[in-house]
Symmetry: D2
Subunit: 351 residues, 4 copies
């Protein structure tokens, strides 16, 4: 995975946090963006599917940043962070906080570095100062610079509605990210990728190859993700189930979309079973993929009404509209650094 | 149960239909309204909780009726019924039909008897004519005269939001029914009943009496339902689970409301579990009570949004708003003769 | 305009109905589909943007049809139509009716011609029989055969979200129509058209040409619509206002989409004014275009929530999602022969 | 009006702010709650409709407070307030902020005084400290102590749905306020008031008395509001229009509810006009009443779907459900100190 910003106060904290089921999204990242870029240029820039580093000039130009912190709830956290940023000459544009009943404190601060007293470019000073406060309060933290545009890989199979939706929104400027690659286990959607000028990689699971074939394909995907410095993987109706290992490694930066029902129908053909039960509402859920299928932290959900006139086919059609809307909203929240995870829940700050 | 209108084409059909899981709502009714009224006056009119028969004058004045039919899908059904009503001089005001994929045909016809060629009062001719067509097509049918206002018993425990909602809507004329009784296993809501001028009966389950106590209380409820000629039982947050026998006897005319989630959370404290899972949507479901808990045919559902800021307490509060809205809509649909049941599904025609 | 099916009981009725503001959608059509096709082949088949007549085989294969009627409310209408179809051996699959308070009766009947006693192909007998009943009851009527796929022209300017949405749904089979042409006053969206394999025609309004230039461009559009046998014109964010004459000629088969607010904001920059007023809800409305701007009969509307955090830009973004959803639903309803117009209102039967 | 907490940094600022159309809700309050209570006991405690001061013990027990501030956007505001509270030993529980595009900064801080270093009871120190910071940043501010329960007067006419809804929610603990009085220009709803144990005052507008009669009744209402120390006036379908003077004096603490449409229909019988236009959505808007009818800052809005089957009567019924829901949400937001006003807009922080 690409490594684009600074990190939790120390790596051991981050590691243990992960074991406790406490995560920021995305999951622990260990190195600086600059290292990452050097790395990429040394080992990967020649590949033809690597997008040109068009974001780099933006790094210099944009002076906005988002700080996300999580720590045990204690007096003085807000004051300490506000004082720190004020002291450095940063202007807080927005701040949202939430204290979970379990005594965990979350904050998202959006601020402007333009008038930073040590110079806008001197991010090391800023990051050192944050790290110090973080140590004092036992904080996990992430710092995202607007210039460091996130990189998203889209994984698809044959269904195109979610893919189209993301690409259209991306082109319209709704999604602040680069999409350097679309990966599929089927070749069907290559034409769509190319009509949007985005590289497409067909990585089929070899037929009859069983678990070995699946693992081999997963390894190819992971190599690509690493090579391209991908920050988030979007499963836009990707119809393969990843191994537990893959899910663990990419937990909290892999986003999935699936249908939901009241009540839920587990197992195969849920639309058929929802039809038989005569539900009046169907839904869709976007969540972080975890090793437990479809049970990761929920980012966004929505529903639509159904009547007795709706066939299974109608429900699937209406479900498509939900899936693409809900996935797009979840992706937008994640790309805007609004989503934090704890336990099996998310805090989704408003943009 | 009170018996207010005519019935399926013959009682053996109705019985076997029930075994097949095919029902109209309400479930098979065997005698005419007039009999029923005589019965009531002979054995029950002296009870002080029996409401005065204020609907009787309406019986004479109202000339509208609703016919609900269900039969195997066959050519000519619509024509036969339309021709029958036209021939008798009835004016069809609205007709809605639906053919389920399983090949079952449903129709709801609303018509005006004012110009009936045999005289408006001569309902026997109308019913005989319908019974004939019904025989030909293997129809189950129900005929509801607007004048025969349905009678609803409300069962409550301690929560008042659904009770209040029904009573306010009833007073506002939104619910076309009489409410001759409110029954509760607790005395708490008697004041509300009396402020709306509705008799209240406290039927507690004797403490420590186990299953016997529960059955005894059920028997009291059933006696009351019978005595008062009740058509529908509304469980407005009634926190007792009925026996399977009770449910079977009152299936398809007992309406329950409960919370729903995406995904569903079975077992105790579902709001707490939904909270832990961080759901972004909660719902409520109104359904016919059957012997399988909360699994009967769904009449109406709706949902509301939830964020990370919502505590369990907030979810319960928002759930209350949903419960009363969804229950009211379901009750209104049922009272307007818009709901038909087949298998575990409903057809809910628009009013 | 292309002429694909039969028509109102006589052409003078249809004409006067239009003057009265009473219309079925689409507006009066005067000739048979077969004529129309002959006409096209004689005068237009050489044009390279004319789609191949792929629907023709479907004409033979599909045996479903939809009859839409409108007449003064009278006893016996349902019976007469049901009897007619039953007598001919047609099987009614669905029937929906509505009687407006003004005493106007609407019915949509969907039926199967497979077992028609005079042979499935003998549509003339069917149409003559309907015309007879129609005369008796003073009906306007339209008959749509499933095989006669409707032809839609999409008009766009520079915004692509509605165009993409229609094309994706069309490809997914959600919209039962052919799209032989996309017309624009700007060249920008040609690439999208070509990625879906649909002909694109750039018809600019000559700069500085004033009303003359506008009329000239309108004439080009009308010629194209005529040549291609277009049934519906969809204004998918087409930013030109048509002349009154154009609107009158194409009323009830031109569908427009625009934003809506509570309260409404007339005039320029409505999003800015809605922002200033701090609205909490914004909406979109799909309607038939008439000569009065944005005031034609409403087909579909929907809304989305707004908070104080939403900038004008956010409102426009959320509005885009609404616009494409609402336009798609309206188009689907119209293409499924579910929409009838009277006065300035629509009856939209459920599909 | 009752005066319960501290106030803007100085009264001249508050006054000029009001002229600029910048307000917090509620509008400027000039004295301390204790004064107010003394005042009441000296001049009004003998009135039988004055509720007993049951909130007083709560004043002692509750240690939570909400600070709302508004000022020109400047660096260091968050830091200054956070530092101030931290320095005093207060624990910030929640903080929400918003910077409007016009460069106005809004913040809501909820905090716990339990460990205040100068003692929990020593609110004067806290208020002085805030006033100092406020002076520095040109802040308007309000401080609300949880113990100082707000007092709400409900004004009604003959429609009971909104009144019932508020009273039921109040009894269920959803609305943190006292309701010492219900006022009506009609006697009809006295029974409802008494069934909830709330004093009812019938203040009719003398017939044929014209503007004088209206003014006389307004004066009676204002006297009552003053006498009872009312913080918010809720117009729960109160069908009288207040004079401009009354509206100005009570702007930003008078909440009204009315129907809304897309598009809007001005003037009489809007439901009838919406029906004629065939709208597919109707809405309701809760707003602060201002001297311009129905044009004050919007607090909350919602909508519901409508079809061609809905008569004017159905629309009114569905509108009732909207009205009570929207009014309840608005009132809850206001009572939770979540609503701030600027220009003609509101900032509604999430509870």
């Amino acid at each position: 995975m690409r490594l684009y910003a600074s990190t939790s106060s120390d790596s051991s904290t981050a590691a243990s946090a992960q074991e406790d089921g406490l995560h920021l999204a995305p999951s622990p990242l260990k190195r600086q963006r600059l290292e990452s870029k050097e790395e990429r240029s040394s080992n990967g820039s020649s590949t033809d599917i690597s997008s040109p580093p068009q974001a780099d000039s933006a790094v210099v130009e944009s002076h906005l940043a988002t700080l996300m912190v999580k720590c045990p709830d204690r007096k003085g956290v807000i004051a300490a962070l506000a004082q720190l940023l004020y002291g450095l000459g940063c202007n807080i544009l927005a701040s949202d906080q939430f204290t979970a009943e379990e005594g965990v404190y979350f904050q998202r601060i959006r601020f402007d570095l333009t008038d930073m007293v040590v110079g806008t470019a001197n991010k090391a000073v800023l990051e050192r100062a944050i790290a110090e406060v973080a140590d004092r309060f036992g904080m996990e933290w992430r710092l995202f610079y607007d210039g460091a545009v996130k990189r998203v890989a889209i994984l698809v199979s044959r269904l195109d509605h979610c893919l189209y939706d993301i690409l259209i929104r991306h082109r319209a400027g709704e999604l602040k990210c680069e999409i350097p690659i679309i990966v599929s286990n089927h070749p069907d959607l290559e034409g769509i990728a190319s009509s949007f000028g985005i590289p497409f990689r067909h990585l089929p699971v070899a037929k009859g190859s069983g678990q070995d074939g699946k693992r081999a394909q997963e390894a190819q995907i992971e190599a690509l993700v690493e090579e391209l410095g991908i920050d988030f993987i979007v499963l836009a109706r990707y119809m393969q189930i990843f191994s537990e290992e893959f899910c663990s490694r990419h937990a909290m930066h892999t986003i999935n979309i699936h249908h939901s029902f009241l009540p839920a129908f587990e197992g195969a053909k849920p639309y058929h079973r929802a039809y038989e039960r005569g539900v009046k509402v169907i839904g869709a859920t976007a969540h972080f993929a975890t090793s437990e299928l479809d049970a990761g932290p929920i980012i966004e959900q929505d529903v639509t009404r159904i009547s007795h006139r709706d066939s299974v086919h109608d429900m699937i059609r209406k479900g498509r509209d939900l899936e693409r809307l809900v996935l797009a909203r979840a992706l937008r929240a994640v790309l805007s650094d609004c989503v934090m995870v704890y336990g099996n829940r998310t805090v989704v700050f408003e943009i």
